[in-house]
């Protein structure tokens, strides 16, 4: 099901009813496949659809006159790209696939209909929007104020928790289908420096890499090293559930 990861993500915040889930599934009108590095939508295009990542990794990016394409967000399964994009006449940034991707298209009218029919979904999708903003704030803070080794550690912690929230991690590891260029781009450092930081974290025993798989050897230690506080991911429902499990 194309919306399973989105439902799993939203249910970190609020329990959806079967009717909510049906509305979400019905809003998907088409599914498209994109190759690695293929654009999903360009800056300047009129956004006719909201894009939902079903499989693979995508990114928001801006194109600069010098050819640079800084990445502004990673989008993983369950992430909606700008649910309120219907309010805009044109895209002010682009989306591209970072790995082979399956993307569901939700037309703007289908989103409007869905939101009118369920207050719970409206609240849940606002939560998802606020989460996107919180992640962007954290990236801004991290890029400007943390050394590169902490930036890398921070990003790995974040992506592990985000992948875990949609059931895509295994034993504190996850598939990271990025080049060192792309990873460095997000952290605002060169690929040479990214390579050195990966080697440093490996040397400290904090991570292991197995091909494209990132393994976190000790999440608590990596979080401490990177000064990572997961509060900005707002995984409230999950935390509450965990607290209940721990208390019982």
């Amino acid at each position: 099901m194309g919306t399973d990861a989105l439902i799993q993500k939203l249910e970190q915040f609020i329990q959806l009813t079967e009717e909510d889930k049906r509305l979400l599934r019905n809003a998907v009108r088409d599914v498209r496949v994109f190759d690695r590095r293929e654009d999903i939508i360009h800056e300047g295009d009129r956004p006719e659809n909201v894009h939902l990542v079903m499989k693979g990794w995508a990114a928001r990016y801006k194109s600069l006159p010098n050819g640079d394409q800084p990445i502004l967000a990673f989008l993983i399964p369950g992430d909606l790209c700008d649910v309120h994009v219907a309010l805009l006449d044109e895209m002010d940034h682009s989306l591209k696939a970072l790995s082979p991707c399956r993307i569901a298209l939700l037309p703007r009218d289908a989103i409007q209909t869905m939101l009118k029919q369920s207050e719970r979904l409206t609240r849940a999708l606002w939560w998802a929007t606020l989460l996107d903003e919180a992640i962007l704030r954290e990236w801004l803070v991290t890029t400007g104020h943390r050394p590169a080794n902490q930036r890398l550690g921070h990003l790995i912690c974040e992506m592990l928790l985000r992948m875990r929230a949609v059931g895509l991690s295994k034993d504190d590891s996850f598939e990271l289908p990025l080049t060192q260029d792309e990873l460095g781009d997000v952290m605002g450092i060169s690929s040479v420096h990214t390579n050195r930081m990966i080697q440093e974290l490996r040397g400290e025993g904090l991570i292991t890499t197995e091909g494209k798989r990132m393994v976190v050897n000790d999440l608590d230690r990596l979080m401490e090293f990177a000064e990572f506080d997961p509060n900005y991911l707002h995984q409230v429902n999950k935390r509450a559930r965990l607290a209940r499990v721990n208390a019982s």
């Binding site: 050394p147 590169a148 080794n149 060192q180 450092i189 060169s190 690929s191 040479v192 420096h193 390579n195 050195r196 080697q199 440093e200």
Partner: protein, 77 residues
């Protein structure tokens, strides 16, 4: 594309075991400059002055492409 190795000598010596595929020596030199800047920025709060640091770029045959050396001297205040 040719591969270049970026070896850094500072308080945490780091031989490059993987290298990076780049268009040519010009790009490798540009990367070395960036790396030297990033290295300094990451260590701005470290004890200072420190011994001399350098970034050495070699090609796969071991020939030097460039070496950027950073050194500083403390003043009297």
């Amino acid at each position: 594309m040719p591969r270049y190795l970026f070896t850094v000598q500072n308080s945490k010596p780091a031989p490059d075991t993987t290298g990076l595929d780049l268009a040519g020596p010009e790009e490798a030199r540009s990367m070395a400059m960036t790396e030297a800047g990033e290295m300094l920025r990451d260590h701005r709060d470290s004890d200072w002055p420190t011994p001399e640091w350098w970034v050495l770029v070699t090609d796969e045959q071991g020939s030097t492409v460039c070496r950027i050396t950073v050194s500083g001297t403390g003043g009297t205040v």
